[in-house]
């Protein structure tokens, strides 16, 4: 009999995810945002880059049948800007977090695997980076370089790796001492072989869960930098939309329709990533969620993780 706690292959993973309603909910939210970004040209009623003829009444016009979410300071359709804006926010989020995960993963594996002085030095560097406040440093870096999308991706990427590095290092340390790694070492396997064949397969799943969480942070950071006016003013992101609305009189015009949707988009994606990431973490790193004072529960293993006598459980 196959027990339910085993995680084997994609099918097993999917079965576990389905039981985690928060994770599924988050995944759906993220997929919807990605779908909107991909289908932007078909979904958006207007082209945000097309010039429009403006009369004074068109500026911050309230929602109407022609413009479902009204218009902004340049008489552009807010709904179309919102749909296209998801592209920039998601692109920055994905690419910046790939940079972070790559740096964090490399530093974590090197520190955990090589140990000694290398580990000491790398972890001290991580500690220093952890203490220096991120946003001010990002602001300084972007302000001193040209405000472009590429620079923003790069700056967010190189500042967001500390959490990943610590996580990967601790995971590497625990894998390194396992019997099969020691055996591989004993029969003369090279370091890169061990990292590639034994370490990565066990560290990667945790890194994937971490990536999803890093993406949400990167999207928050991008929106903040754009809101502070540090992004390329010609690329339309949700943070940029809020910058324009806030600095160009949406508050005094009472144009809530220019202020609410971009922020809602950010919360949607960040919350989706957070829920999905936590769901993945719970699957990969399950913890018994109960205690001695919990109402109506005894502190025993859950129904689905109980084993019947003589049952063979596959451990991966």
């Amino acid at each position: 009999m196959q027990s339910q706690i085993t995680v084997s292959g994609f099918g097993g993973f999917w079965a576990n995810l389905k039981q985690n309603s928060m994770g599924v909910f988050g995944l759906i939210m993220v997929l919807m945002a990605i779908g909107m970004a991909l289908l932007a040209p078909w979904l958006a009623p207007y082209d945000p880059n097309a010039p429009v003829k403006v009369t004074i009444d068109d500026i911050y016009a309230p929602p109407s049948p022609e413009h479902w979410l009204g218009t902004d300071d340049a008489a552009k359709d807010v709904l179309s800007n919102f749909i296209y804006g998801s592209r920039v926010s998601l692109t920055v989020g994905f690419f910046a977090s790939f940079i972070s995960i790559f740096i964090g993963g490399a530093i974590g594996i090197m520190a955990g695997f090589l140990g000694g002085r290398v580990e000491n030095g790398l972890m001290r560097l991580t500690d220093i980076m952890l203490v220096i406040p991120d946003l001010p440093l990002a602001v300084v870096l972007v302000a001193l370089t040209k405000p472009s999308l590429l620079n923003i991706i790069f700056v967010i990427g190189i500042l967001g790796w500390t959490g990943t590095a610590r996580l990967v290092r601790s995971q590497t340390l625990s894998v390194k001492e396992r019997k099969f790694v020691l055996r591989a070492k004993a029969i003369g396997a090279g370091q890169f072989y061990i990292i590639r064949r034994h370490l990565l397969p066990l560290v990667l799943p945790l890194m994937v869960a971490n990536t999803v969480l890093v993406i949400s942070l990167a999207i928050l950071n991008e929106s903040t930098l754009s809101f502070l006016g540090l992004s390329d003013p010609t690329t339309l992101s949700w943070g940029q939309m809020l910058n324009f609305a806030f600095t160009r009189g949406a508050m005094s015009a009472g144009a809530w329709w220019a202020l609410v949707p971009p922020g809602f988009g950010i919360v949607w994606v960040v919350l989706g990533c957070t829920l999905f990431g936590h769901g993945l973490e719970q699957i990969l790193n399950p913890r018994l969620e109960t205690h001695h004072l919990a109402v109506g529960e005894e502190m025993v293993a859950r129904e689905d993780s109980r084993m019947t006598p003589g049952e063979i459980v596959e451990l991966t």
Binding site: D127, I128, L130, V131, I132, P133, D134, L135, P136, L137, V139, V140, L141, A143, L144, T145, K146, S216, L220, S223, T224, F227, L228, G229, L230, G239, L242, F246, M251, G254, W256, L259, V260, P262, G263, I266, V267, V270, L271, T274, L275, H278, L288, E289, T290, H291, H292, L293, A294, V295, E297, M299
Partner: protein, 350 residues
């Protein structure tokens, strides 16, 4: 009785922490100096872009801000890279002058207002401390209480409600929440649209003035509190669950103690330790929150100075503000380490 060994351990622990903080500060100072000279927006060109200035005037200003001296031995300038004389007197380099000025508590002169950076930052520091402490105290108290209740009522509707609202609060961009609250508060509740005091107002007494400041503090403080409640609640909840599954809780329960008593006297104490570390680590985010909230609410604090300095390309100001922000976070971490060792004797003993 405390043995001599233990005191020695304690000393070494403290010394180690102090040395570590000092090293981090040195790293920040060096980073702060070289960033502004390596990256393309170098102060001399950016601050002196005005085409109306004659060459002589530009030279005079460069000399006034010390930008005519070599950056450091062997390098006259780092961007564009200009190799210089290595035998130059180290006391005559920009780096040495910067460091020695720092040691005397000088952060240079603002390009924008022509006043010493230290004076401007000093005026603004207290406003930020007022704003940050009000928001932090509220969010710590509310976040911890929510976390305790959620952990106690684990997997009930109360727990799920607290969990979901915390995750939503965590996902909110600080500046956006500020904008929305400002919109609602100023339109429907007659709250001030920003600043620290009503401009041009004449106050009968100091009490009246404080009441005015308090009214201006309401919205920024609510924003701060909501942003940080989520994280404190989530961490308190998971720490409490861990502590509540330990054997001594079962013992206390078996002794017939009431749940509230167990929570208060047994669990809460032991859960507070990790919170100390988290609160300290959060101070980095607090600084980020302060920059956003002060920008949205025009609150005259360090964050606003920092943001304005970016827009004005006022590099001495930007550099000074960054240094103050970074050093306060480092000190806060040091304080947390010391507090932690005071609260948990196991750490001290190594």
């Amino acid at each position: 009785m405390i043995s001599g060994d233990k005191i020695l351990m304690n000393y070494r622990y403290l010394l180690n922490k102090f040395a570590w903080a000092l090293l981090t500060i040195i790293f920040v100072i060096v980073l702060n100096f070289f960033l502004f000279r390596v990256l393309p927006g170098d102060p001399a060109r950016a601050g002196l872009r005005d085409p109306r200035l004659t060459v002589e005037a530009q030279e005079a200003i460069r000399a006034r801000f010390g930008l005519d001296k070599p950056v450091i031995n062997c390098f006259d300038s780092l961007n564009p890279l200009k190799i210089g004389n290595c035998a130059v007197n180290p006391l005559e380099t920009q780096f040495f002058i910067y460091v020695s000025n720092l040691l005397r508590g000088e952060l240079g002169i603002s390009y924008h207002s022509n006043r010493p950076v230290v004076d401007i930052l000093g005026e603004r520091l207290w406003n930020t401390i007022l704003l940050v402490s009000a928001g932090q105290i509220l969010s710590i108290v509310i976040g911890i209480s929510l976390g305790v209740v959620a952990a106690w009522k684990l997997r009930t509707m109360i727990d799920y409600g607290a969990l979901v609202s915390s995750l939503v609060a965590w996902s909110l961009p600080t500046f956006w929440l500020g904008i929305i609250l400002l919109f609602i508060g100023s339109r429907y509740f007659g709250l001030p649209i920003g600043g620290k005091m009503t401009p041009g107002a004449h106050f009968e007494s100091t009490w009246e003035q404080w009441k005015d400041i308090a009214r201006h503090l309401i919205l920024p403080t609510i924003t701060f509190t909501i942003i940080f409640i989520g994280e404190y609640m989530l961490i308190m909840r998971s720490t409490m669950v861990d502590v509540l599954s330990e054997d001594f809780i079962l013992t206390a329960k078996a002794k017939g103690l009431h749940s509230i008593q167990i929570l208060k006297d047994h669990a809460l104490r032991n859960s507070m330790l990790p919170m100390v570390t988290i609160i300290a680590l959060n101070l980095g985010f607090t600084v980020a929150g302060a920059i956003q909230i002060e920008t949205v609410f025009s609150w005259p604090g360090l964050g606003q100075v920092f943001f304005e300095a970016v827009g004005r390309r006022d590099y001495p100001m930007l550099q000074g503000a960054f240094l103050i922000l970074a050093i306060s976070v480092i000190f806060a971490n040091l304080a947390a380490d010391l507090l932690y060792s005071y609260l948990d004797p196991r750490v001290r003993a190594g």
